[in-house]
Symmetry: C2
């Protein structure tokens, strides 16, 4: 199924932006009267038909609207330090969007090797994964945020920090049972600093382990994401 992203759709008659118009008319060769499916990223799934197959300003008319399409039962916010190789972060964003996530915050840590990210490029990866996996909700991507700032921000749910130090840690999979809203912090290649772990614990984070394996940053993030979905969604 081919989905079109229409974030600002408010009215029955709507004009696709130039990119989506070109894709519909030139690439897919859709014409007047042809049906297409639209998502707005805030939970609405539309069936519409083309009323003017203009390759730059394709006009459509909404036929049906389904609200809260594939609405999630729980809320998952993962804060992860961007990887040195940005492909690994982009891969995480694609997979997390496919599997199920609500909010992502790239965090700047003491041991972060990467200190800059291109938000617009990362946003494109998420939109593309949302369309490909037929989801009507667009995960929220926050700008790169300093670690201290993130843990100081109030969160309405349980907060966890996954680190590799030899401290007493709980199993994430056991901690999230009965917890519908979770924030999980995943550190950079060099792990969180001891100071960061200490501050996270003071701010109410529960230290957790994701299992017995030593995982790369992006693998740990996807494992945390899937653990929450497996236990709280399916």
């Amino acid at each position: 199924m081919q989905l079109f992203f229409t974030p600002d759709l408010q009215t029955e008659i709507y004009t696709l932006d130039e990119t989506e118009s070109k894709h519909a008319v030139r690439v897919l060769r859709l014409n007047n009267g042809d049906e297409l499916k639209l998502i707005d990223g805030i939970g609405n799934f539309y069936t519409a038909e083309i009323t003017d197959a203009n390759p730059k300003r394709c006009q459509i008319k909404v036929i049906t609207k389904e609200a809260e399409f594939g609405k999630r039962k729980s809320y998952l916010h993962i804060a992860v330090a961007p990887t040195k190789n940005i492909d690994r972060l982009e891969w995480f964003l694609e997979k997390a969007t496919e599997i199920g996530i609500d909010e992502i915050t790239p965090i700047l840590c003491e041991h972060s090797e990467r200190k800059v990210i291109k938000d617009d490029r990362l946003e494109k990866v998420i939109v593309s994964a949302m369309k490909q996996s037929i989801k009507a909700y667009l995960p929220k991507l926050n700008p790169l945020t300093p670690f201290n700032e993130l843990i100081a921000t109030p969160f309405d749910g349980k907060k966890f920090i996954a680190h590799c130090y030899e401290l007493d840690k709980r199993q994430l999979k056991n901690e999230i049972i009965q917890s519908p809203s979770n924030l999980i912090l995943i550190g950079p290649e060099g792990d969180f600093s001891e100071r960061e772990v200490e501050e996270a614990l003071q701010s109410g984070c529960t230290p957790v382990t994701l299992g017995n394996s030593r995982l790369r940053t992006e693998t740990a993030a996807i494992v945390a994401c899937h653990t929450c979905n497996l236990i709280l969604e399916d």
Copy 2:
């Protein structure tokens, strides 16, 4: 920690191959008396010291040997159709090795767009991931196998097929509880053919779903891999 792969290590005195010798002596600048860690891919984890820092034939002496290092409690065999874009299969191999897997069989299906793979390149990805995630067991990678051949091969455990047809399916996470040995079939981008699903059911495979999300081939494979590890290993 820097690991060296010594698959044929049998004796107390051993000579690293040219690649590992160069890495130890030229790249890491290790010298006589320096300690290093070795894995043989069949469960042994060694501590050794360099006795001759030759950049082409570095000789080492084993000091300690730990058998069954990180031995898994369950057995996981995933059979997956190689993706059109081989990077996605390589990514799965890397992640599955990190998370935990015993055997992987690339399968050739009716709807497979990719009909050729480079075994040696895929093997390199697995070895690299094994070393990076500090594992002593090398997952077994089988050659590309026709679907019919695979399902005709006897398997000592439960067999599952994850497909997208609207048939009665069980949840994989519920089916594997109490099942220490599992084979899971993951189809190509175009899914398995109806005939393949029918044949799989006749050969004793249980049809399963991996959750509510529509997942890409490599995402479905990693989700299946992590589901088994989360429930049977940690």
